[in-house]
């Protein structure tokens, strides 16, 4: 079965610093991969997704992620963090039901704190 590992439970960075959040997946074939963000008291908002093609994916809010098959990774990056980026970040991989996507398997999340 698919699984996702986010090794870092909590990361703290200063505003303006660069950010990298790690995600490793376990999947038998070329995966589809997602990054979601959750602000306190809110649902999950899609940041970006990888389905195929270019391994560097651009998302909203200045985020990007790079799919590396050799490392089974899909790390999320941002060159300069803003205080409003403080939130919890989830990496996810879907199952397949025929040709459609089914349930998502989520990592446990990485809590990002941004110092002013």
């Amino acid at each position: 079965a698919q699984s996702v590992t986010q090794p870092d439970i909590h990361i703290t960075v200063s505003e303006g610093a660069s950010l990298e959040l790690r995600c490793n997946y376990s999947y038998g074939a070329t995966p589809y991969l997602f990054w979601y963000v959750q602000s306190p008291g809110q649902g999950l908002q899609l940041l970006l997704k990888y389905f195929s093609g270019d391994t560097l994916v651009q998302g909203i809010k200045g985020f990007e992620a790079e799919f590396k098959r050799s490392q089974s990774s899909f790390n999320l990056r941002k060159p300069s963090v803003h205080w409003s980026d403080a939130a919890e970040y989830f990496c996810a991989v879907p199952s397949f039901r025929g040709s459609t996507l089914g349930r998502l398997y989520f990592g446990r999340g990485t809590q990002l704190t941004v110092w002013p």
Binding site: V4, Y32, F34, Y36, G41, Q42, G43, L44, Q45, L46, K49, F51, F90, A92, F96, R97, G98, S99, T100, L101, G102, R103, L104, Y105, F106, G107, R108, G109
Partner: protein, 116 residues
């Protein structure tokens, strides 16, 4: 357009009470998912509908949990005889469900359930 909505946003129940959580998906979305998110954890899959058909309920933790989507639109998650371990955020997500392999799940804000 309108996103996924959930009601109530907060629910406090006494142990043993029954609760009903409602999800209004994005109009026209075929697929609907329920997830449970315990404090400090990633969302865990509960159940999945395609239109009115419940195609996967493997994530429901016990027979006290029941979900329905009778007309293929609004869905209700019912928890009977609530227990303290049911305290969590319940997230609903919908997706177009097209057989393109590229659909994304859009999440509602969640219902935070506290069982006393």
């Amino acid at each position: 357009g309108a996103g996924v909505s959930q009601s109530p946003r907060y629910k406090v129940a006494k142990r043993g009470q029954d609760v009903a959580l409602r999800c209004d998906p994005i109009s026209g979305h075929v697929s609907l998912f329920w997830y449970q998110q315990a404090l400090g954890q990633g969302p865990e899959f509960l159940t999945y509908f395609q239109n009115e058909a419940q195609l996967d309920k493997s994530g429901l933790p016990s027979d006290r949990f029941f979900a329905e989507r009778p007309e293929g639109s609004v869905s209700t998650l019912k928890i009977q005889r609530t227990q303290q371990e049911d305290s969590a955020v319940y997230l609903c997500a919908s997706s177009p469900g097209r057989a393109s392999g590229a659909e994304t799940q859009y999440f509602g804000p969640g219902t935070r359930l506290l069982v006393l």
